[in-house]
């Protein structure tokens, strides 16, 4: 039997990285927002660094819904079912997978938006597999850049810019597409491992 709830301006189904990001500007604009989420609201205790629980027994707080509902996948109807991963890498919780990821917020590179035309230009059309469904994006990095910028500053991404409005900074990634300003947070302190890698990789 249907239950009639109080009317609201916006209902967001799923409070993960997409729904959660949408909720903020909608609420700031003065709209009443209701979010529906299958997972629980987690507390710090749910994030205890416990290797046995988290890595070997399948972090019970993580993906009970996905683990139960996503059985198998296969590339076409005649292929055998591939066994699904014992532990689904996504999260069911308020915050979704944004609660539990490697905290690396990369932008796509300019090249990524033009994978067909750039592959063809550089390597020839024969390098694309026959029958591939890969396509160029319908727009380029420049169209997405303002939104990358907005989200990076909202969540506080740290890093060293390599290209601000076309000005290359060798301390950053010189191959990245132009960004309008520096990251909101400074780059992380280097470790001894970084220094060894850099010594081997940087061409002076």
């Amino acid at each position: 039997m249907a239950i009639n709830l109080k009317k609201t301006d916006v209902v967001i189904v799923g409070l993960g990285a997409v729904g959660g990001v949408a909720a903020l500007p909608l609420a700031r604009a003065g709209l009443e927002v209701v979010g529906l989420e299958a997972g629980a609201w987690l507390t710090p205790r749910d994030f205890a660094p416990d290797e046995l629980r988290n890595n070997f027994r399948g972090w019970p707080q993580s993906a009970q819904k996905a683990n139960n509902e996503i059985p198998t996948h296969r590339p076409n109807a005649s292929a055998p079912y591939s066994p699904r991963l014992p532990i689904h890498p996504m999260m069911n919780a308020v915050g979704g997978t944004s609660l539990h990821y490697w905290a690396q917020s990369w932008r796509l590179n300019p090249w990524d938006f033009k994978v067909v035309s750039e592959t063809t230009r550089r390597y020839g059309a024969s390098r694309l597999p026959k029958g591939t469904t890969v396509e160029d994006w319908p727009f380029g990095l420049d169209e997405l850049e303002p939104y990358y910028d907005k989200v990076e500053h909202e969540v506080g991404v740290s890093g060293q810019a390599g290209n601000i409005n076309g000005t290359i900074d060798k301390r950053g990634n010189i191959f990245e597409g132009p960004r309008r300003r520096e990251y909101p947070m400074p780059p992380l302190r280097w470790t001894a491992f970084h220094e060894k890698m850099a010594a081997a990789a940087i061409v002076r």
Partner: protein
């Protein structure tokens, strides 16, 4: 320059674990001499592990428990690197877990432990726990090489099952009943949870100080996260 002896220590520890699985610890130690005191040794010398206490078995029979204790003591033995799986109370961890998350393995343990005792009896004339360490190593090597008979589905499967759970019981968070007195973490130089990592720690320029605290005893991982948690 990094301290090369650090590398050597790590390699010898790694070899030890690799070879424990191949030919038992006696062979591993002769093949990979430890050249200088490890962190575990130093720590062990400072705080000797308390002898394992007797406690109720929750799942295993007394005979099964005795055989399992003897197995884990050979898989990660106590030696000059410090206490091993016996002192970590790895068998206690397994006994408890077989009533819970590992319950699907209960039958495999019943069958495998009985098969091991039968095999030891037929080869060496005594149940596994009564054999000398070198005879125990020989029996476990037969299991690992899958030449021991009488196991279902086979000896290697049982060996790998116990090996996996012995490692879990030695290095898990102590909350689970293993890693008693943090001997597992001391053995590999794992300091425990560090919420803030200083520049020196990050450069690995200094040995991290052992914290010896279960994640569940750390105030950050209580429901309110030491007062900083967010509740809806």
């Amino acid at each position: 320059m990094p301290d090369r002896s650090e590398d050597r220590r790590q390699v010898s520890r790694r070899n030890l674990f690799k070879q424990v699985g191949i030919a038992g610890a006696a062979a591993a130690l002769s093949g990979a001499p430890v050249v200088e005191p490890t962190l575990a040794q130093t720590t062990a010398a400072q705080t000797p592990a308390a002898p394992p206490r007797r406690e109720a078995l929750e799942t295993l029979t007394a005979a099964e428990g005795e055989t399992l204790e003897a197995i884990v003591a050979r898989l990660i033995p106590s030696d000059e690197s410090g206490p091993g799986a016996a002192e970590a109370r790895s068998a206690h961890y397994i006994d408890r877990a077989l009533a819970g998350p590992l319950r699907v393995s209960r039958t495999a343990y019943a069958d495998g432990l009985a098969a091991l005792d039968a095999y030891a009896q037929s080869k060496k004339g005594a149940p596994f726990a009564k054999l000398s360490a070198s005879d125990q190593d020989a029996m476990l090597t037969d299991l690992e090489k899958n030449v021991a008979t009488g196991f279902t589905p086979n000896a290697a499967a049982f060996f790998n099952l116990v090996r996996t759970h012995t490692i879990q019981g030695t290095f898990c968070d102590p909350y689970y009943g293993g890693n008693a007195n943090f001997v597992g973490w001391d053995l590999i130089g794992y300091p425990g949870i560090r919420l803030a990592v200083g520049a020196d720690d990050q450069r690995m320029a200094v040995r991290p100080k052992a914290i010896r605290e279960s994640a569940y005893d750390n105030v950050t991982f209580t429901i309110n996260g030491g007062g900083h948690g967010h509740q809806p």
